[in-house]
């Protein structure tokens, strides 16, 4: 599996219609809120994070990934009772790293996406634990097995989601 971009085509910035940038994150937030109501176990999947990773990789721009991640994270914070910024900080960091990685790594292959998503899920969980446990002093239990399973499930879902979102991008 080749992680590095081997062709110029793979390194091209992938653009999307503006509407996609607006509707897809909102759809992810709404779907996350609605499905969790009927299937409580669905809260293990973090759709807003997967969307952040995908767009950050697609833009191949750290700044865009940072800002996009921050906005999606703050919107996700607004639906919870947490202070605004907890998910914003986590997703901003993940967006920055995903955007930086998109330039150097071939993110078209499914294997790359699987591995990248798995690692970013772990990172997201770690940052969240630091903020909630240490910064806000709220109870938060870190379970290695739970985090491992959650990262694996999100990686698998991410591969499928990324394939669906590839249909909406337009090549320059």
């Amino acid at each position: 599996m080749a992680l590095l971009a081997s062709t110029r085509r793979e390194a091209d910035v992938q653009s999307f219609p503006l509407l996609i940038f607006i509707l897809v994150p909102l759809f992810a937030l709404g779907l996350q809120s609605f499905v969790t109501l009927h299937f409580p176990r669905f809260d293990m999947i973090d759709l807003p994070l997967l969307v952040t990773i995908y767009f950050a990789i697609a833009w191949q721009n750290p700044i865009a990934g940072t800002v996009g991640g921050a906005i999606i994270g703050i919107a996700q914070d607004a639906l919870t009772h947490h202070p605004l910024g907890v998910f914003g900080i986590c997703k901003a960091l993940v967006g920055y790293l995903a955007g930086s990685l998109g330039v150097r790594v071939d993110t078209e292959s499914h294997g790359t996406r699987l591995l990248v998503t798995f690692l970013f899920m772990w990172l997201h969980g770690g940052i969240f634990w630091v903020l909630v446990r240490r910064l806000l002093a709220q109870p938060f239990a870190w379970d290695w097995l739970h985090e491992l399973i959650q990262a694996a499930i999100n990686a698998l879902v991410g591969v499928v989601l990324f394939a669906l979102l590839d249909l909406a991008k337009r090549r320059e």
């Binding site: 996350q32 409580p40 809260d43 607004a78 639906l79 919870t80 901003a92 910064l135």
Partner: protein, 577 residues
């Protein structure tokens, strides 16, 4: 300048990241400075939340409404097969709950009086608003649900939210048409609870895994899994007595050893909420609807009690002789007793006024005099009471019968044994022409009285064959033995006194009966009052059983009366050599 520009251009990405993170950290710090996590957000924060919620929740409401509509078509038209039975079941349950409510109403009133004396105040639910749950936060670290009612519907921040099963949480952020509800399973929630049995109080909060627990409780061996937990009312939020859940297990708090945390299994299904009730108004007195319900329940209890008393006092029309059917099991009450019909006791000496004493008219013959009826005697007929008449023939062997046999018939008719009735022995005038005979007396028994002969009740006449020596038979051969009554007693029979073989004691010593063919010898002593014949009860016969009287040999009618032989007289002692 160029160095600075090159610095910014070189590290542009990192600087933007740092700037974004710094801004969010500062925002977190500002928000974390609130006096309590439950305090309202600042205006800017509320504005951001409002924008996001306003964008996310309307599609959720549309999807929920479409789902309800499709589900309503099924439930309102197709799935109505069992509505009638369900209605009946609910009505029965409601009646039962009314009775229970009435029985608890008095306890509640007493509790209120005591509360008033002690200065306690209890909150009662006055008004609630039904709301649909339309969404969640989407995160397992935030136990928030959204409902489709807001400030326009009377919802305010800090209102308790419940379901009929148990408490859910309280409202946190309220928007015009939507509200956030913080569940009791969230670590930032709190409610005052008490264990129902052990009365241990504590604060309910959610743990890191989303399970409610009562925190910082002193260890107590009485706390067992399954114990019910209710609201204590001490938080001034939830009314007292609402169900919270049951104890799941007890764990030691590692940070506050030796205190323990009691993990609770919530009564309300927090992961499958559909409809909730938001308590919008509470008061110190019972709400008017509750007062009406209690009055209605008490009236129903009074009616039930009156009907039960009436059923006990009125005679039953159920046939007591009917075989016990399986339907009696349905009438069995909680203690396993089946109602039995009440029947009047059988008469001790039945007469023609007694129940079932009068024979059917088709069996009667004009002028027929019925013989007295003895117990368990086949072919017997009901007696007819007749006034003793001096002009009537005294030789009749059938007159003057007492209706004593009907007692046995009454017994057999009812199938029960009546209470024994003592009857005073009938006084028979003794003209000295008959040997003393035991008078028929029943003692604690329903033994029918053997019929008396009319000769005993009439004055002696010249041509009366009764003018004979005592113990002799009458001219017409009819025995002049008086009516004999047998008394059945429990226990051994006292041996008869050898000296007086013909005397009888009122206490009931046995009297040897004369052998067939012999005549009772008159005793040397003065005739004594005869008493009842004592027959020992060996338990082989039911109460009321009267042994049939032994038939005495009837003298032949054409044989002349033998002269009475005088008793052998002993020679005087003095002349014997």
């Amino acid at each position: 300048m160029s160095a600075m520009e090159s610095f910014f251009s070189r590290y542009r990405n990192a600087l933007v990241l740092i700037a974004v993170l710094l801004a969010q950290v500062i925002g977190l710090a500002v928000q974390a400075r609130r006096p309590s996590p439950d305090a309202a957000d600042s205006e800017s924060v509320s504005l951001i939340r409002y924008w996001v919620v306003s964008v996310i929740t309307p599609p959720e409401r549309w999807v929920h409404a479409i789902g309800d509509g499709i589900g309503g078509i099924w439930s309102n038209y197709v799935n109505l097969v069992h509505v009638k039975q369900q209605n009946r079941d609910l009505q029965m349950e409601m009646d039962r709950l009314r009775l229970e409510q009435a029985s608890l109403a008095e306890d509640a009133r007493q509790a209120q009086r005591l509360h008033g004396l002690l200065g306690f105040t209890q909150k009662y639910i006055y008004k609630t608003v039904v709301a649909q749950v339309i969404g969640t936060s989407g995160s397992d670290q935030s136990r928030i649900v959204y409902i489709d009612k807001g400030s326009e519907d009377g919802i305010r921040t800090g209102m308790p939210v419940i379901t009929p099963s148990g408490i859910v949480g309280k409202t946190r952020d309220v928007f015009p048409h939507k509200s956030q509800v913080l569940q009791i399973s969230d670590p930032t929630s709190g409610a005052g609870v008490v264990l129902e049995t052990t009365r241990i109080r504590g604060i309910l909060k959610g743990n890191a895994y989303g399970q409610p627990q009562v925190i910082n409780v002193m260890p107590d061996e009485r706390i067992k899994p399954g114990e019910k937990v209710i609201t204590s009312g001490g938080d001034q939020l939830f009314p007292r007595g609402l169900s919270v859940g049951v104890v799941d297990r007890v764990e030691v708090d590692p940070e506050h050893d030796p205190l323990v945390d009691i993990l609770i299994k919530p009564a309300a299904n927090l992961s499958q909420l559909e409809e909730v009730l938001v308590i919008t108004n509470m008061g110190d007195q019972l709400p008017p609807q509750a007062v009406r319900d209690i009055a209605k329940s008490e009236l129903q209890v009074e009616q039930q009690r009156a009907s039960d008393i009436l059923a006990e006092r009125l005679p039953s029309r159920i046939d007591p002789n009917a075989p016990e059917a399986a339907e009696n099991l349905k009438e069995m009450n909680a203690s396993g007793e089946v109602a039995r019909p009440l029947t009047p006791p059988a008469a001790l000496h039945p007469d023609h006024f007694s129940p079932n004493a009068t024979p059917p008219a088709t069996t009667l013959v004009p002028g027929q005099r019925l013989a007295p009826v003895l117990a368990d005697q086949p072919g017997t007929t009901n007696p007819i009471r007749k006034k003793p008449d001096a002009t009537t023939a005294t030789g009749s062997t059938q007159g003057g019968a007492q209706g004593t046999g009907t007692a046995a018939q009454a017994n057999s008719a009812t199938g029960t044994t009546a209470a024994p009735v003592r009857k005073k022995p009938e006084i028979v005038p003794d003209f000295g022409n008959k040997p003393p005979t035991p008078a028929p007396v029943t003692a604690g028994d329903l033994a029918p009285v053997t019929p008396r002969r009319s000769t005993l009740l009439t004055e002696p006449k010249a041509n009366d064959v009764t003018e004979t020596a005592p113990g002799t038979a009458s001219e017409n051969g009819r025995a002049t033995n008086p009516v004999k009554t047998t008394v059945v007693v429990d226990g051994p029979v006292r041996p008869a006194k050898p000296a007086s073989n013909t005397s009888t004691q009122p206490s009931g010593s046995t009297v040897p009966r004369p052998e067939p063919g012999t005549v009772a010898q008159p005793s040397n002593t003065a005739p004594k009052k005869t008493g009842p014949e004592i027959v020992p009860d060996d338990g082989s016969h039911p109460p009321g059983y009267v042994p049939p009287p032994k038939k005495k040999p009837q003298p032949k009618p054409n044989q002349p009366n033998k002269p009475a032989t005088p008793p052998a007289q002993q020679p005087p002692q003095g002349r014997r050599n």
